[in-house]
């Protein structure tokens, strides 16, 4: 009798092998995952992009799937994303949106909730939620954690306090917890024109400079733009006594320990002052860190360190979000949407996030950020500050009209910095103009008593 493998045996074997492989499914078994169609990511060029690109290449190597990257200058990415979502057939399958402009994509209904592509997809609990900006409730139009999952963060860009650790050691200074302590330290190190105690972004920018720089002061002094945004109460409270205290402090900082021409400093000049050694402190986003230790780009290699942003006397530290979210638009074929989501699923695993860090970008998983073993590497000395900041991050606003309010903030705050307006007048003007914007757009809003 022939002892061969019958067809029935084979099919039985195939079925059990298939069952076994399903059981063995895990993020590490990516190479056996179903092949995905190529898809396109639209993203802007930035210091952390290099790390992102390397991680994409690692994904391609791991899975054999193809990813196209459409790289753009900072503003150009928004233009292209907007154009793509507003046509019938989108060109881009994964949109990398910045925390300052993603609102229009949420409000405009251009994105697919991720669970409509794959009901089984879960955002890993270790991924930082960044003030719940990944969630969206279409009815209340707010970032409701019980709402739908719309995006996955790819970069948690927040400001940190960059300071000269070498000068701190020389002068036996302690890392400041409050703004008052920061001012004291800055005054100690202030020695113009050789070195400025602190440099601040006082310039009028587009989209923003001075408002982004001042926001941590505002929130940590318990000031707010709206009374209760999460509950839909958009009463303007920017001209409250708390906000005035925050603005006065900001101006005082500039006068007593800052750059003589703060009103002309944009982000590029802050970086310039730091890397040339002309500034002892600055509030700067973590995304700019990689330049600081590069001998071709910095004269203070190894001398800088980062701490979480200081807080007001009675408030909490409030690093303001300038983060990046990855969303999937509605107007692209299902196959490409699935491919994009598969990438995001791979991206959020611990292994991928460690690769991301090693490639030179800040990770977005809390367990990687808080990994003390990783902190030991002097290259990652900023990580502890960032890990501590995760639970305090604050969004500037969640509405598309925020862009208009941002322009008002930039103009008036800049005028306060250069002395054209007093802080009370500036804040009152901001309040009036923001109120007009919201009224025009039909929000439930109001004003508080103006400052004297």
């Amino acid at each position: 009798m022939k002892q061969g493998i019958s067809r029935r045996d084979l099919s039985l074997g195939a079925v059990s092998a298939g069952a076994l492989s399903t059981l063995a499914w895990s993020p590490s078994a990516w190479s056996q995952a179903a092949k995905q169609t190529p898809f396109t990511i639209v993203i802007n060029n930035s210091p952390w992009f290099d790390g992102f690109r390397k991680v994409v290449e690692a994904y391609e190597a791991d899975t054999g799937n193809k990813v196209n990257l459409d790289v753009n200058p900072f503003g150009g990415s928004l233009e292209k994303q907007r154009a793509s979502v507003r046509t019938k057939d989108g060109m881009f399958d994964l949109l990398i949106m910045n925390g300052l402009y993603y609102q229009e994509f949420y409000h405009g209904g251009f994105l697919t909730p991720l669970n409509e592509i794959d009901p089984g997809f879960k955002l890993d609990p270790q991924m930082v939620r960044y003030d719940n900006t990944v969630y969206w409730n279409e009815t209340t139009k707010s970032h409701d954690p019980a709402g739908k999952l719309m995006s996955v963060p790819v970069n948690g860009n927040i400001p940190l306090l960059y300071y000269r650790a070498d000068l701190y050691e020389e002068n036996k200074l302690k890392v400041p917890e409050t703004w008052d302590e920061l001012l004291a330290n800055a005054k100690k190190l202030h020695n113009p024109p050789k070195i400025y105690g602190i440099v601040q972004r006082g310039a009028r920018g587009s989209p923003n400079d001075v408002s982004y720089d001042w926001w941590p002061y505002l929130n940590s002094f318990n000031g707010n733009l709206f009374r209760n945004e999460a509950k839909g109460d958009f009463t303007i409270t920017i001209n409250s006594p708390e906000a005035k205290a925050a603005l006065d402090f900001y101006l005082r900082m500039a006068k007593e320990a800052g750059h003589p021409q703060t009103g002309g400093l944009a982000q590029a000049q802050i970086i310039q002052n730091l890397v040339t050694g002309k500034a002892a402190h600055a509030l700067l986003v973590i995304a700019a860190w990689s330049q600081m230790d590069d001998p071709a780009k910095s004269a203070v290699v190894g001398k800088l360190n980062a701490a979480k942003v200081p807080r007001g006397p009675n408030g909490k530290p409030s690093p303001v979000l300038g983060h990046w979210l990855a969303g999937i638009p509605k107007n692209v074929p299902k196959a490409r949407q699935t491919a994009a989501l598969t990438f995001l699923n791979w991206f959020q695993t611990r292994g991928s996030q460690v690769k991301y860090l090693q490639a030179g970008s800040p990770p977005v998983r809390q367990d990687v950020l808080s990994d003390q073993a990783l902190w030991k590497d002097p290259k990652n000395r900023w990580m502890s500050a960032m890990a501590e900041s995760s639970s305090f991050t604050r969004l500037m606003w969640s509405i598309p009209e925020g862009a208009q309010i941002g322009d008002v903030l930039e103009l008036r705050l800049n005028q306060a910095v250069i002395g054209e307006l007093t802080s009370s007048k500036a804040l009152n003007l901001i309040a009036d103009e923001s109120h007009a914007i919201l009224v025009r757009s039909g929000y439930k809003t109001g004003k508080i008593t103006p400052l004297a």
Partner: protein, 275 residues
Amino acid sequence: MKIIRSNFDFEHFFLILVACFVLVPFIWIVAAGFKSQISLLQGEIFFTPNLDSFREVLFSKTTEFFSNACNSTVIAVISTFLIVFSATLGGYAMERMHCPRWLIHTLLGWSVVFHMIPPITLVAAWFPIYRELGLDNTYSGMVLAHMALHLPMALWLMANFIHDVPIELEEAARIDGCSTPYLIWKIIVPLIAPGLAATAILMFIFSWNEFTVALNMTAKQTSTVPVAIAKFAQGYEIKYGEMAATAALALIPALLFLLLGQRHIVKGLTTGALK
């Protein structure tokens, strides 16, 4: 004799003075390609040159410089040629073919108005059409866009230069039995050669440096040099060195075109001139 000599010195003095004002920033810009970023930020005047930026732009793994330069050249050359050709014919038609005055005024007025439309809105209006017709990310789409942008100016310039050609020459040629194409090619063109060359140079430069449309209507395959340069202004870091290196390299074809254009185009156009 004395008057002429002092005039001569004054001219050269003035020209050299202005040349310095032009060259110092220009050299500063080109030198940026040879400096390290920290050296640039510190404003060092004496520095040790290095080729890192150039290496990054030309040979790095992610470089697209050659493809961008190629795209820019193709688009610029084709659109310049088409624009100058259409503008010359159109200018001649306007000046010599008894076009009604209202048409001319409308056309000129329209070119003024068109020039004032912000580039962003142009792109926003064209983008859906381009998507429909499949013109986005193609050479033809870009050439068409550049023609639409710059033809009005070229038309007006050429019309002006043709206007200056004395009508008697043409009448003489007509009596001899010249056909219009021959007339234009052999008589008008040589006489407007300096203006034609100037227009061609300007159209080339405008197309070469055009940014807004190129940014939005192209993807990797047809991206041009200005887009590549803009990508180095990254928001959190401006890579001055790479920007300058890219621009310096891109200058080479532009300069070549300029020098060749001055010598050969003008020469070629003026041979066979009426005498």
